[in-house]
């Protein structure tokens, strides 16, 4: 069971890890927990497990790096393969795949630091701002949690928001802000193949404006599962999630985050998470439970799928 690591989401991963380890032990597995660090390969070789449960979030663990190492060492692992991890971890790549497949995602532009430093991309900001409108969202392309996400309300907020987003990585995106409801659809592969199971839609209703702060804490976000949506909207959300899953090539499990635009009623896909949170307040376990799949069964199934 791989947990922790050096990403900014280390703490969340440690929380996920504790729960997963408990579940695996209750299921009768022998669990070797590894806090991922410099000695990862050596420890994997020494442990020589049947399967690695990857309970990492963010850089290294969710972006295909650890998966590539597991491939190299020849250890089966849970969740998506290297290529799907790469596609999901980079929001820009994921959004381009969605666009190409005709999946609605909020309009955006993305640049790396070089574009601004060497290609004068700053001159394009007024046109971008006009196209996306205000407020607009500025976010790092590779950050799994909400760290570094800033809402720019007017043009003068944009440079500072970009500087902040570049603190987390080399690529940032400017995205149209969608006012509306925060939905998540988790998808779970089925034993023995076939169409994956699309779990009920969860709606996250934060008590405060700051979604990230609230979401990881008990009692500060209300989760409604299944979300109170018309059958038509719920079906459409689940259909979109499955489409994203297929387009990005996910396996095992994944969570797709969407917005329901309160003005147009349109559903838009924000991103896909190759390794969804598995903490006490995470969305995937809640959705599974609403579908009658308890946490242990969920974890057991994810492991079984990897073997």
């Amino acid at each position: 069971m791989l947990k922790g690591g050096r990403s900014l989401e280390r703490q969340i991963s440690l929380k996920s890890g504790v729960r997963v380890q408990d579940a695996l032990e209750r299921l009768g597995h022998e669990v070797i927990a590894i806090d991922v660090g410099h000695d990862l390969v050596a420890r994997l070789r020494e442990a020589s497990p049947d399967v690695a449960f990857v309970a990492l979030h963010g850089r290294d663990g969710e972006d295909g790096t650890v998966q590539e190492l597991l491939e190299a060492v020849g250890i089966p692992y849970t969740g998506s393969g290297v290529s799907a991890c790469i596609r999901c971890a980079d929001k820009v790549i994921a959004k381009h795949h969605m666009l190409d497949a005709g999946i609605p995602t909020p309009d955006f532009f993305a640049f790396n630091e070089t574009a601004f430093k060497e290609l004068g991309a700053a001159d394009a900001l007024p046109a971008i701002e006009q196209r996306l409108g205000f407020p607009l969202v500025v976010k790092p392309s590779n950050q799994g949690s909400a760290l570094g996400i800033k809402l720019a309300r007017e043009a003068k907020d944009v440079p500072g928001a970009l500087v902040a987003a570049f603190s987390y990585g080399d690529k940032v995106l400017l995205e149209r802000h969608v006012d509306g409801r925060d939905l998540a659809v988790s998808v779970l592969d089925r034993d023995g193949g076939g169409e994956p199971l699309v779990l009920p839609v969860v709606e996250a209703i934060p008590h405060e404006d700051d979604r990230y702060e609230a979401r990881y804490e008990i009692g500060r976000t209300d989760f409604v599962c299944p979300a109170e949506l018309s059958a038509e909207v719920a079906d459409r959300a689940r259909e979109l999630a499955l489409h994203v899953w297929n387009v990005l090539g996910c396996a095992g499990f994944a969570r797709i985050d969407l917005m329901l635009d309160e003005h147009s009623g349109e559903l838009l896909v924000l991103e896909a998470n190759a390794i969804p949170g598995l903490t006490a307040t995470s969305l995937l376990p809640q959705a599974a439970e609403a579908a009658g799949i308890g946490f242990d069964e969920l974890i057991g199934r994810v492991v079984e799928l990897a073997l």
């Binding site: 009768g28 020589s48 394009a124 046109a127 440079p159 500072g160 902040a164 307040t281 242990d296």
Partner: protein, 479 residues
């Protein structure tokens, strides 16, 4: 070869016993007190947890250097405790603390020119407990506490957990602005309100490192005496002065009528002994004593005897002196490094003592985000927001110089200076104040990536009625 659990990786069906579900957690959440809503765990706390990694130069801590305490002294003190007070050190003690420790505390305060009667001391479990007990004694939900801006980050969760409304008064190089304090008090009075207490770290403040001037100290004491308000004087660093003349404590200026004094052994001996103390108006201290009884019955007898034995050895002043020598050098190293590595856009304080320097960057830099970049460079600091309850402080940072060696201070500040400079340059490029440059050394990427390619498809700067839409791959399906 490792043995595997029976059945290998074959899964067994979980029984309902021992299963935990998110619904159970909702059940707990329903039991939480309302005040837990404001007891914040945050993204920043998760970030701060990363600063404790061993490969990080952390200027984020507030740790004293305990490595210079001689192990032989520790051993001989412990032997003395074992011989002289074995049974008593293993026993409960009085809630207000052991008399033998109280007389040590009177000695420490006398060293700073504050005379007290050892009888009047309440021994606590660290200075932090004093903050908690003062809140417990004085604060009902919605009551006002006045604090400095910035304030000690460790006091913030305590104030929040008692559901206080905290008003922060700006400071400058002479400490809290008393004129602003008076204005705030007048405004509150118009609303028929009054703060329950004014919280201040007047000497080498955490986090700013600044010290309240003597005129402001006198004026603050006048203000609280005129209005019959209480002040909590938090003074962990007073004896760690590296230059300049000592100033009288607020407690000594006031005579103990309206000032509650907080002291601690954490910075002059050890935070591990978890011993602090309070002196103040008797009725307040008596209530705090009742609160302490409810909280922990008494502070550790073992460490109280340890500290008393240490003081009996007569060397505590020498040890404080040796700490001051170490910290003064480290402070100077940090100030030199800042002058060298932080650009003219940045400012920082020049503390005459204590453990911290407070640096302020241009207002477009958010130090919480900057910390993510700094962690990539294996260096950490405390983002300024941690010292405010109102979102201010985003472009400041607290730097600690007591807990790391001189070489690490130099290298840590150099790395932070580098990421700050990168951000300043980037901002300049984004706002057109600095022209985009082609660096001589960095080769351009061989192929522009997908995101960069978007530059080529941007709409023209002059707005046209129909803005172009993103090009799609031929054959891409719709909807």
């Amino acid at each position: 070869m490792r043995t595997r659990a029976p059945g290998g990786h074959r899964l067994v069906t979980a029984t309902s016993a021992g299963r935990r579900t998110s619904r159970d957690l909702e059940r707990y959440a329903g039991l939480f007190a309302k005040r837990t809503q404001v007891m914040r765990s945050s993204a920043m706390r998760d970030l701060m947890a990363l600063t404790e990694r061993s490969d990080i130069i952390s200027l984020a801590g507030g740790l004293p250097d305990t490595s210079s305490f001689p192990a032989e002294s520790f051993a001989s003190i412990m032997s003395r405790v074992a011989v002289d007070s074995c049974a008593r050190s293993l026993q409960y003690g009085p809630t207000e603390g052991l008399a033998v420790l109280k007389s040590c505390i009177a000695d420490v305060m006398a060293e700073e020119g504050t005379q007290i009667d050892a009888e009047d001391v309440l021994v606590t479990t660290g200075g932090q407990q004093v903050i908690d007990l003062v809140c417990k004694t004085l604060i009902d939900p919605g009551d006002v506490i006045i604090a400095e801006a910035p304030t000690y980050p460790g006091a913030v969760p305590t104030f929040c957990s008692y559901e206080a409304e905290v008003i922060q008064i700006a400071g400058d190089e002479d400490g809290m602005r008393i004129d602003e304090l008076e204005r705030t008090l007048a405004e509150l009075a118009e609303q028929g309100r009054s703060p329950k207490f004014i919280y201040t770290v007047p000497t080498f403040q955490n986090p700013s490192g600044t010290t309240m001037s003597l005129p402001r100290r006198r004026r603050l004491v006048e203000v609280i005496r005129e209005r019959e308000l209480l002040a909590l004087e938090d003074n962990p660093y007073g004896l760690l002065r590296y230059e300049g003349d000592p100033l009288p404590t607020l407690y000594s200026l006031d005579g103990g009528d309206f000032v509650i004094y907080l002291g601690t052994f954490s910075k002059i001996l050890s935070p591990g002994v978890r011993l602090g103390w309070s002196v103040g108006p008797r009725p307040v201290l008596d209530k705090m004593n009742v609160g302490k009884q409810a909280a922990d019955l008494c502070s550790s007898s073992l460490t109280q005897f340890f500290v008393a034995a240490y003081f009996a050895s007569g060397r505590w002043q020498d040890y404080v002196h040796s700490l001051k020598e170490i910290y003064r050098r480290r402070r100077d190293v940090m100030l030199d490094a800042l002058a060298e590595c932080f650009g003219p856009e940045c400012t920082w304080t020049h503390p005459q003592g204590g453990l911290f320097i407070w640096a302020t960057l241009p207002d477009y830099i958010d130090t919480t985000d900057l910390l993510a970049r700094a962690l990539d460079q294996h260096v950490a600091f405390v983002p300024g927001r941690a010292a405010y309850l109102d979102g201010r402080g985003a472009n400041s940072m607290r730097l600690n110089f007591s807990g790391v060696g001189e070489a690490d201070i130099r290298e840590g500040v150099r790395r932070i200076g580098e990421v700050v400079r990168e951000q300043i340059e980037l901002y300049g490029t984004l706002t057109g104040t600095v022209p985009a440059v082609t660096p001589a050394h960095e080769p351009a990427p061989a192929q522009p990536d997908a995101a960069l390619a978007d530059v080529l498809h941007l709409p023209a700067p002059a707005p046209s009625p129909t803005l172009p839409t993103r090009r799609r791959r031929p054959g891409a399906s719709e909807g």
